[in-house]
Amino acid sequence: MITREYEKTYEITEISEAVRLHYFDEEKFNTNFISVIWTIPAEKKNVTKVSLLAECLRLGIDGNRHALEEKLSEMYGAVFDAVVLQKGGRQLLALNIECIKDSVAGEKVLKNAAGLINDIINSKIADNALTQAKRRLKTRLVTKNDLAAEYAIEKLIDITYPNDSFSVHCDGYIDDIDKIDTKELNELFNELKCSAHTDIFISGELTKEKAMSISKSLIGRRENIKKLPIDEINICFGCAATSEKRLISQSRLAVAYTSKLNPWGKDWCIGLVLREILCGAGSSVLYDSVRQEEGLCYYIGGRLMRFRMVYVIDAGVDSGNEDKTLKLIDEAINSCCIDEDKLDAAKKAVLKDLKATEDRRTGIINEKLNEMLLGITIEHQAEKDIQTITIKDVMSALKGLEKKGVFIVASDK
């Protein structure tokens, strides 16, 4: 059963305008966790700045990562990170700190962890930090492009959603990095702290009062709160298809199939069940037809991107087998038959994944964030919805799939 055990102690409190504290009183993990998340629209003109800001914050105060790491080691190897996330057309900047519980360490680690995240939030970005951050971000972006598999998926989204903020690269653009200075970055940081939608997640071995006090200390003056605009979907006309050549041993393909399902309630569950049938772990329609029967690839997988309800299927194949693989994927989807056994197995797999979400802090936080950004206000009885899914539901979802994009990084060896 999906226990949603965390819901029993989960409380959400608006502690300031558009600032919410999400508190979970749970002690099953050996750690305490604090996360501060700012959400803004993903806009090309700003994303690189936000990404650079994350890089600067990752370095700690005054860009002294050396000193920060020493502090984290003293806190029993606490982990601090500043990460940029993308959810549909929104860009999220998250500051996270996780440390082992005071009762495990035998000393007050949480107090120091809260102090550290507070100091970082109240710090200013220094020139030294920005210089390092620029180098780090450039390297990260360049390194990312070296991996053909990731590159193929990013380009697929670019061509499928050319005028949609979903295709804005939230980790930034190399060409924009050098145009940014510390003044701009500090202004942006202040703007985020004052006016961006803010969610603070605190969970672990602490009371709600303590969590409240920590979260209030992380918040300063609030003004000009900006309403998040509607995350509009803007997809290409027809099916966009592009390929590029690269000196690699194996071609990488990525294909996008849109769905007519909604990203919430039973529709969302049907989407997950269909994903499992088509490209789930182990045995699936595409795994069986492309890998096991034809031996065309080692890896074929797929994901359902919830904020656009698009299935992205990707595979690595030998040069010359690209068209054959694409045809097989199409055929497997178009001729897919679902019987009760297949449906039952897929439902079980989806239930297992949802239960696994509860075993991870980040899983719970991610689920809460998704619900908020999608405007889901009622508690979703996922298990009940999954149980009522029929073959007809899944077949109807399958029929609604539309191929909207293909991107190939072709081996030119």
Partner: protein, 411 residues
């Protein structure tokens, strides 16, 4: 049955050795997902062995191929059966072991029985073996495009040329072609024996049931285990460069490490050395990032199996040759200069926290237990407190002077 509760939170372990020789570890956790695993002491490096008074030399990639093929049973593919039970099954092979594991929220004991039974039951049909060859060749080609992977094995080939440890886990296209059902049956019979396997379960599971079931299934299995050849090869040194279609250089510098007893404690100390010498708070990283040569600390890997071990430092750099030179100088300096007590005490705290945090997750805990095969997590956690500065210095001295280097540059 031995129950270890007097240890840091989250490390509690139930340990039992069956009469057939199998070690069983149970890691109780209050989680939705339960994990069951079987770790076989047979990995990619075990290509030469004596079994039933006969010497065998198997093709590279055999252990990994066997891992893939074990999923094909006479009655069909094992993954499908696990999926029917609501579980997900997976496996991996490294230099010294093959681990099969499943994750599930329901039907744990059915899944557990299925796991033990399929690991114990070989079925290698000609057609299936042939089909698997093309899949594995695809896997090899996929890794061919990964510059980090190429850098690592490039350095290993410089350090231990012509040794199994420098070969890719999956072998190569020529060695794969030499694998036949007969090769697979021999390896299964030689290594998949009760005393060569460890059973690990984590989560909200019943220890008694697991022990009884393992005993029932494994007690009738063959008991003779092959003796894999100890890889006593003198390390070499050298530098190689590989050209790839990349934007930023990659490097790997691999050092030999002396093998020794108490692998668990040594692993912990190597982790401290790696962090203190090359981590984000190290002088090395501070200096290299100040010069703009690297922007992320290098990753450090260490491994030891049957007489051979390595300590490998790798990463991305704008001037890889300069970074590698500095890695070599840093290792030399570290060996001549002891760690000071405040750095040591900070590293000890970090190690304790990182270990406890990592095993909070059932899957990671089970995989870690599979790695620490001779000690339970509870015992391992207690080992941390016993580490001294002298131990640290001793392990630092076990890192050899020779170095295999590989640099991946833009074509």
């Amino acid at each position: 049955m031995e129950v270890k509760l007097n240890c840091p939170s989250g490390c509690e372990t139930i340990h039992h050795k069956l009469s057939c020789g199998t070690e069983v570890y149970i890691l109780p956790r209050e989680r939705n997902i339960k994990v069951g695993a079987v770790a076989v002491n047979f990995g990619a490096n075990d290509v030469e062995f004596m079994f039933e008074n006969k010497y065998y030399r198997m093709p590279y990639g055999t252990a990994h191929f066997l891992e893939h093929q074990m999923f094909e049973q006479q009655w069909g593919n094992v993954s499908g059966r696990f999926i029917e039970l609501g579980a997900e099954v997976n496996a991996f092979t490294d230099g010294g072991r093959t681990v099969y594991y499943f994750k599930t929220a329901e039907n744990f004991m059915e899944c557990f029985r299925l796991l033990l039974n399929f690991v114990e039951t070989p079925y290698f049909a000609d057609e299936s073996v042939e089909n698997e060859k093309s899949i594995i060749k695809n896997e090899i080609t996929m890794y061919d495009d990964d510059p980090n992977w190429r850098a690592f094995f490039g350095a290993m080939k410089m350090l231990y040329p012509d040794s199994p440890i420098s070969q890719e886990i999956a072998g190569n296209t020529e060695s794969i072609d030499k694998i036949s059902p007969e090769v697979l049956y021999t390896c299964h019979r030689a290594f998949y024996t009760p005393r060569n396997m460890t059973v690990i379960c984590a989560g909200d599971v019943c220890a008694d049931e697991i022990i009884t079931e393992t005993d029932k299934i494994f007690s009738s299995a063959d008991k003779n285990t092959a003796e894999a050849k100890c890889l006593k090869i003198q390390p070499s040194e050298g530098k190689t460069e590989i050209l790839m279609d990349i934007n930023i250089q990659r490097f790997c510098a691999a050092y030999p490490i002396e093998v020794s007893k108490n692998l668990v404690k040594k692993n912990f100390i190597l982790s401290m050395i790696a962090d203190n010498t090359f981590g984000e708070s190290s002088e090395f990283f501070k200096e290299m990032s100040r010069k703009g040569l690297i922007n992320e600390p290098p990753s450090v890997e260490f491994f030891e199996h049957k007489g051979l071990g390595y300590f490998a430092i790798s990463g991305a750099a704008s001037r890889a040759d300069k970074v590698v030179e500095e890695i070599q100088n840093t290792i030399k300096r570290a060996k001549n200069r002891s760690i000071n007590s405040s750095d040591f005490s900070r590293e000890m705290k970090r190690l304790t926290g990182v270990f406890i945090r990592s095993i909070d997750d059932c899957e990671t805990a089970a995989i870690t237990q599979a790695r620490f095969k001779e000690k339970s997590l509870a015992e391992a956690a207690l080992e941390i407190n016993k580490i001294t500065i002298q131990d640290y210095e001793r392990v630092l001295d076990m890192i050899g002077d020779k170095c295999g280097i590989c640099i991946i540059s833009k074509k």
